[in-house]
Symmetry: C2
Subunit: 362 residues, 2 copies
Amino acid sequence: MPAPKPSELAFIRFVSVENMMRLVHSIGVETVLKDLARYLEDDFRRWDLFDKTPRVAAHSEDGVIELMPTSDGVSYGFKYVNGHPKNTKSGLQTVTAFGLLARVDTGYPELLTEMTLLTALRTAATSAMVARHLAPKGATTMAMIGNGAQSEFQALAMRAICGIDRLRLYDIDPAATAKLVRNLSGLGFDLTACKTAQEAIEGAQVITTCTADKQYATILTDNMVGAGVHINAIGGDCPGKTELHGDILRRSDVFVEYTPQTRIEGEIQQMPADFSVTEMWQVIAGAAPGRTSDRQITLFDGVGFAIEDFSALRYVRDRLEGTGFFQSLDIIADPDDPRDLFGMLTRAGASSAGMQREGATL
Amino acid sequence: MPAPKPSELAFIRFVSVENMMRLVHSIGVETVLKDLARYLEDDFRRWDLFDKTPRVAAHSEDGVIELMPTSDGVSYGFKYVNGHPKNTKSGLQTVTAFGLLARVDTGYPELLTEMTLLTALRTAATSAMVARHLAPKGATTMAMIGNGAQSEFQALAMRAICGIDRLRLYDIDPAATAKLVRNLSGLGFDLTACKTAQEAIEGAQVITTCTADKQYATILTDNMVGAGVHINAIGGDCPGKTELHGDILRRSDVFVEYTPQTRIEGEIQQMPADFSVTEMWQVIAGAAPGRTSDRQITLFDGVGFAIEDFSALRYVRDRLEGTGFFQSLDIIADPDDPRDLFGMLTRAGASSAGMQREGATL
């Protein structure tokens, strides 16, 4: 007797790191970033519709493990993500992530995917989508302070979505800047490696801060920042981790993803609880102004929100159709009679016992 | 140039439904249930140590999707589980589940597994582990009211762990009872199919109620229950779903897993907020009495708690060692240089472009 075959319903699509890379290359990195920005903008526009549960965090001495769920009423998604600053020392990633998309009507999972790469892509697409609304018109130059794992993605997204192709680079570790220059060489950017943060922001209309230390740092001080710039502050994303001097926040109009989360995790954790911010979805939906003058400093205090992962999961699900860039995982027990889970188990046992008697391997 | 191979660190073990069935059969179902009861008892004994986050639920008209995380400081686990009562009508499972175990020190996932079968096993092992502490000594007979997907597992666990081998069966649907009789025939049980719940509980020292309707039902009324029995009430496990008349609860000593959750989901949702209960871990740790007299009615108001899933995940992880009952999933992006995620992506692209030029398939 052959082993009972699981039905179609028992399978979900799994996108490994390798398949994610294949998928991204088959589409093209910059096209993926532009597509993601479109998916993100669609979801920001219908922001009200989403379940906005705060992340569920398990803290330890070494780091944090978080679950970030959300739902639009049709699909349900969550991301598992860890943050372990010391991992780098033992050759491990500081942040790893995977995500899942399920159907709300049946509760059945439909997609499981790596999200380390996907998060890097969606973070960059979010920054650029926001900059498209807030950066001064005609911006061509970005200072990039912090040249780690996220920096290349930021650069490509800012060019693909905002037309910024001149980059001024600074990192406390020159090796990080050298890596960034190496990775972006030959891709048509105008690259300048700088010796200080101050030097990097000279002439830049957009300033991206993206450093990794989990501590109150002051990457930018007030006197460094001139009128009219857009600051894309994405490195401060947990309690105790900020990058900007409070005075910069006071001079800026601050835009956030989801206020309750950003007050805990973002740059504005330094400010009083009633410090005025605008949620970015309101700008995109036309319910609140974005940039209103040439002299205004706009500041995106980005920490990453579950809805952005949801957009990214939707995108991957949709783009997988017709490709072979996934494996099928038999993760759902699917007996012929839903009340007969035990029968499914015993029949599988009888069948594998039969196979063993016939000398077949399991 | 060959595609860069992901390192060992990039992989987690995945146990499909098929591999879970193979693993269970290779060990033997009753041995698995006994082993699980031991893992459960170990974790109940160190209950205080665990993070006890409430489940994170996303409700919709059709059902609920929940994440149930917990951690003992060394490992972190969570279960994804849905509950969609209408699924049965379209040939789908009402409840499906999968789970994950990760290392707290690095945040790296180590095990992903189906948990539909595993939850059925851990639920039965929990019931029997509790009954071993609370059921009257020398109990031989169990009434089983509700003969659905969980019933066979309950029967096997109660025999393996408590020595109960006489079963009196009742379900409003005689076909469910017929299925249960068919599945347990030839396994050495003394089986009696009954026409009413009243008839089923005659002479039983243990009464298991395990029905599936999501509504306030009264499977047992007060006058049906005699002195000295142990009631294992596991069917009422969400708001609006109970099985027992309130008068039975008032006559019983009620034992629960985790009081805040059980007051919302369990039988005691019918009772005032200060209704007295004992947490089962206290009994197991010797900090509270279990059964104290022959006439006492003990009642386990079981709803299922994250720590039980954690025990089950630990067990599977440990028992996988040295078997081939898993697949390796490449779910963690693992660049040689953790800061060079983009370099990993471009090198993979160069490599796959090379493969395409050589006409190799992806």
